[in-house]
């Protein structure tokens, strides 16, 4: 399961109501960051400070990632991480949901309340839907050894403000934040900078929000 898939399953209550747990802008930016994170983990792109560039244009194993990589190869003039986050955030929710649906992990349930269309995303298997959040919670609370992918996931969860949602027990939060701060010192720089930009973009969205 890709980084963006896991982030999606954490940001949406797919094992329960099917409703989002996180506000739409942060969800979209978190998923955009996760999609770039997948390419960084696959060694196709690298992030350094404010810039992102393609280091290896060979295809990746999924269509969505491949399309994004292709777009990045075709637009070398755009090296700004925040540009790519904003660009990918436009459709990231639908695209990652479609990938999860294609993989048989998710189904969409549409309903209408008056004139507003409301899409709920439900896990086809309760355990699959609930597992990523539980896994991140356990790792953070127990201080388990984490792979770069796990670190990126936990960092994105924190950057988008979801940490308190998965750490249900308040007593765990201090320890989890301390552990997070510790491993953020050892996380590969591209993932550190990428998640930092997601955090900044989410914060800016709070400041420049308009209805």
């Amino acid at each position: 399961m890709g980084l963006a898939d896991e982030f999606f399953l954490i940001a949406w209550d797919t094992a329960g109501s099917g409703a989002p747990l996180l506000h739409p802008r942060a969800t979209a930016l978190g998923l955009a960051g996760a999609l770039l994170g997948e390419l960084a983990l696959a060694q196709r792109i690298t992030v350094w400070r404010a810039e992102v560039r393609v280091t290896d244009p060979r295809p990746v194993d999924n269509a969505l990632g491949h399309r994004i990589l292709h777009e990045m190869v075709n637009a070398p003039e755009h090296t700004d991480v925040r540009t790519w986050l904003a660009y990918l955030a436009r459709n990231s929710v639908e695209e990652v949901a479609a990938r999860l649906i294609d993989g048989g992990l998710l189904r969409a349930a549409e309903s209408r309340v008056l004139w507003r269309k409301n899409v709920r995303y439900l896990a086809t298997n309760y355990v699959n839907g609930a597992w990523p959040a539980v896994r991140v919670e356990k790792m953070l609370v127990n201080g388990d050894r984490m792979t770069p992918s796990d670190m990126a996931l936990a960092a994105l969860v924190e950057a988008t403000g979801l940490l308190d949602t998965i750490l249900l027990d308040r007593r765990d939060r201090t320890a989890a934040r301390r552990y997070l701060a510790t491993f953020m010192a050892t996380i590969p720089p591209p993932l550190r900078d990428l998640t930092g930009h997601v955090r900044a973009a989410v914060g800016d969205a709070v400041l420049s929000y308009r209805a």
Partner: protein, 509 residues
């Protein structure tokens, strides 16, 4: 696997599609400025409290100074990431201690502006409630109902929809223009007097008071730069929107405040506003227009106040959030609601303050219109004037270190001229603070209120110094906004050798 091959700059095109043009930014800026609140509430109360009549020319003069200020301000905005708040400009131009001082001044000023609006709501809503329901509730009851609504909307991040705001704003402006026209075609004594527009009024005693009130009318214009990131072409959209907004505000308020003096006769405006208060403009128009039009105008006055309350509440909450995010305030203030993305802690803090002020004013039996709305507004307006002045100095200092970045007009000529003009306004404001408040020159308030900002600034500087000693990493990021989150404060020179394309666009430039 299907790969869509794209040509042209699809990324820029796709992003630009969601972005704002000049009219949208102007609308956002003006809807926060709440024209009917200013014309019906601030202008009439100003005549009544200060007893002087030069307000129309003061609006034009302050508009000219702020346009001059905006030249350097929008130029500097282009060099800032997350160019939202005055304190980031001050931090970058005058150093972090001044920046934190500016942040504290801004917190006091924006809170005062927001809370002051609760004082006017009673005066605005009472005539309607009396007419429709036959009840005349106490002002604080109306204020508390509004407060509760604002508190809930703020935390839930339910903001008034942009298009509703645009419709209300358009209606407000149309009503104001209609009233102005009515006043001007029905002059007192049959002759239109231009005396309130005479530049000579700028040299009348107490003019500092009028200048502060005029600045209050413009508050909100500074928010145009918040939309840099979201505008179609930041280099063009934001400056064009800023100048347009300043020009519209200056002309609209100057004409409206002048038209009132024409309708009453310049010699009687003070007497009439002291008697009628915010009812003045409705009474003047009601003599010649149908009751329905006047009722619509009264409803718009209430919605205008409400829109301004939400706007200033959100501005204050976001300011607190921005400071919490940079850890200038405790980190808890940087928290947002997970579900809505609202700056929850900042919103709650502002609401607690608002509730406390309403209760204290009600308990002490203070006058809501003059002592809450007008004092809150002018006190807040004076704070914003101080921030604009400090920002103007910051623009000079910022570009002094980057002489190649902008032309001399934007870098030095306009900023120096606006700084001198703003400094004169600040001096006159302090000198005439008693006139501004309508109190005796020996009243302690006339010093206590300006001194509050001195105290806020001293606390800010002290706090910055404490941070620099105890938390140097936090101190280093003050005023950097988004950059604080990614630690890009260090110069961009340090990069891994030779792997960055030359044409890379750096956000920090």
């Amino acid at each position: 696997m299907t790969v869509r091959t794209r040509s042209g700059d699809n990324i820029a095109t796709a992003l630009a599609a969601d972005r704002l043009g000049v009219p949208s930014v102007v609308y956002f800026v003006l809807s926060a400025a709440a024209p009917l609140t200013v014309v019906a509430g601030v202008v009439t109360t100003s005549y009544a409290v200060t007893g002087i009549t030069g307000l129309p020319i003061a609006f034009l003069a302050v508009g000219a100074v702020l346009a001059l200020f905006s030249v350097g301000y929008v130029a500097m905005a282009r060099h800032m990431v997350n160019a939202g708040a005055f304190y980031s400009y001050i931090s970058r131009g005058l150093g972090r201690p001044c920046g934190v001082a500016g942040a504290w001044i801004a917190l006091v000023a924006y809170n005062a502006l927001q809370v002051g609006l609760y004082g006017a709501l009673g005066a605005a809503a009472s005539p309607l409630l009396d007419q429709w329901l036959g009840v005349r509730p106490a002002w604080w009851l109306i204020a508390l109902v509004a407060w509760a609504l604002i508190a809930v909307l703020g935390v839930m991040r339910v903001e008034v929809n942009g298009s509703i705001l645009a419709i209300l704003l358009t209606a407000e402006v149309l009503v104001i223009l209609l009233f102005d026209a009515t006043d001007l075609v029905n002059p007192a004594g049959g002759a239109v007097s231009l005396s309130a527009l005479s530049p000579g009024e700028l040299f009348a005693p107490g003019v500092g008071a009028l200048l502060v009130i005029a600045v209050l009318g413009f508050v909100g214009f500074e928010s145009s730069v918040v939309f840099s990131e979201e505008s179609r072409d930041p280099r063009r959209t934001v400056p064009a929107a800023t100048f347009t907004a300043v020009a519209i505000i200056a002309v609209l308020y100057a004409v409206s405040s002048w038209a009132m003096t024409v309708a009453t006769g310049p010699g009687r405006i003070v007497e009439v506003t002291r008697r009628d208060g915010p009812e003045t403009i409705f009474n003047l128009a009601g003599a010649h227009l149908s009751g329905t039009v006047v009722d619509i105008a009264r409803v718009l006055f209430v919605t205008s106040l409400f829109a301004a309350m939400i706007s200033f509440h959100n501005t204050t909450a976001r300011y607190i959030f921005a400071l919490g995010r940079e850890r200038v305030l405790p980190a808890v203030f940087g928290r947002t609601s997970v579900r809505t993305g609202a700056p929850k802690s900042g919103s709650l803090a502002q609401s607690v303050f608002g509730c406390a002020v309403i209760i204290v004013y009600a308990a002490l039996g203070l006058d809501p219109l003059v002592q809450l709305f007008f004092y809150g507004g002018t006190f807040g307006g004076f704070g914003v004037l101080l921030l604009i002045t400090a920002t103007s100095v910051s623009v000079i200092m910022f570009f002094a270190r980057r002489p190649a970045e902008e032309n001399a007009w934007r870098r030095i000529v306009a900023p120096v001229a606006s700084t001198v003009a703003l400094a004169i306004i600040v001096y006159l404001a302090v000198a005439n603070f008693a006139t501004l408040l309508g109190v005796d020159p020996t009243s302690p308030l006339r010093w206590a209120l300006p001194a509050a900002y001195v105290v806020a600034a001293i606390i800010g500087v002290a706090w910055a110094l404490v941070l620099s000693l105890t938390q140097p990493d936090v101190y280093a990021k003050i005023g950097l906004g988004a950059e604080a989150a990614t630690g890009q404060a260090t110069p961009a020179g340090f990069r891994p050798a030779g792997n960055m394309p030359r044409h890379a666009r750096s956000r920090t430039r």
